[in-house]
Symmetry: C2
Subunit: 143 residues, 2 copies
DNA sequence: TATTGTTATACTCTATAACTATA
DNA sequence: TATAGTTATAGAGTATAACAATA
């Protein structure tokens, strides 16, 4: 049984360690689908909603606009996303998933969810739902 | 009200974003005490228990042994830790906090806890305790 | 002139390998 | 020869700044 709450490690330390473990667990799943971490993040953002500019996409995922260019190049090369100049303002690139991209994203996400399920499997139902509820509330990127 | 659980973002994404936000919030606190993130991590580990070798300390905090040397140099320089060769095996360095180091660590930790309290303040008591309980259970570094 | 996207450069962090000293 | 600690080197990832195209 864990000790009193005041004896716990710092919140930041626990959350950072858990984040690292989750990312480590995700890596082989992504590799199996031949997608990079940034690639998956971009696919996820575009699965939520198409974007009108690369800068908006970068902002949405908390990245620098220069950091996603190589990722977009590769996703476009593999026909997972469309990236066409807006006829109304030819500086901007309209971004959206292709059918292939949508399917790939769904497949990767399903595998990742399955891994998460295994991690959460041992929790009591009430604990599990409380944990996810609090996480969604504290998540700075959570809608 | 949040949607159904299957609509949530990936667990890894939520936890990683939260970790980043927590670390960002910690930075000014550490700066106010003139301690680096690695410095605070080392102080925390040695506050838990003195270590017999630098390699053991590195393992305990999940770092490479070469990565903590500069940190140990600085902490020793500022008389926050003691680092003396073991008479029985002069290759190894016995590591422990000084009184000053222990006080500094306690002060920083108190400030960090206060910040965490502000973050958790809005949660229902049951949600809060369930969240921390699950976090401690899933934390790979949690005793 | 301001903005979108791109490229080039520099910087930080980390991991790897080589070295010293002790055993 | 093996291990603890240290230093030096190289690599990955990131941020900053300069640039070209369009408005």
């Amino acid at each position: 049984m864990p000790g009193p709450e005041s004896d716990r490690p710092d919140l930041a330390a626990m959350v950072a360690r858990l984040a690292r473990a989750l990312v480590t667990a995700e890596r082989p799943v992504l590799a199996a689908h031949d997608v990079s971490m940034w690639g998956y993040i971009v696919l996820s953002a575009l699965a939520d909603e198409p974007m009108r500019t690369q800068a908006a996409l970068a902002r949405a995922i908390g990245a620098d606009k220069t950091r996603i260019i190589a990722t977009l190049d590769e996703l476009q090369e593999r026909a997972l996303i469309e990236r066409e100049p807006d006829p109304d303002d030819r500086r901007v690139r309209l971004l959206r998933l292709t059918g292939t991209g949508r399917h790939l994203h769904a497949a990767v996400r399903a595998d990742i969810r399955a891994g998460e399920e295994r991690l959460l499997a041992g929790l009591a139902g009430a604990d599990r739902s409380a944990f996810l509820r609090v996480l969604r509330r504290l998540d700075p990127g959570g809608g």
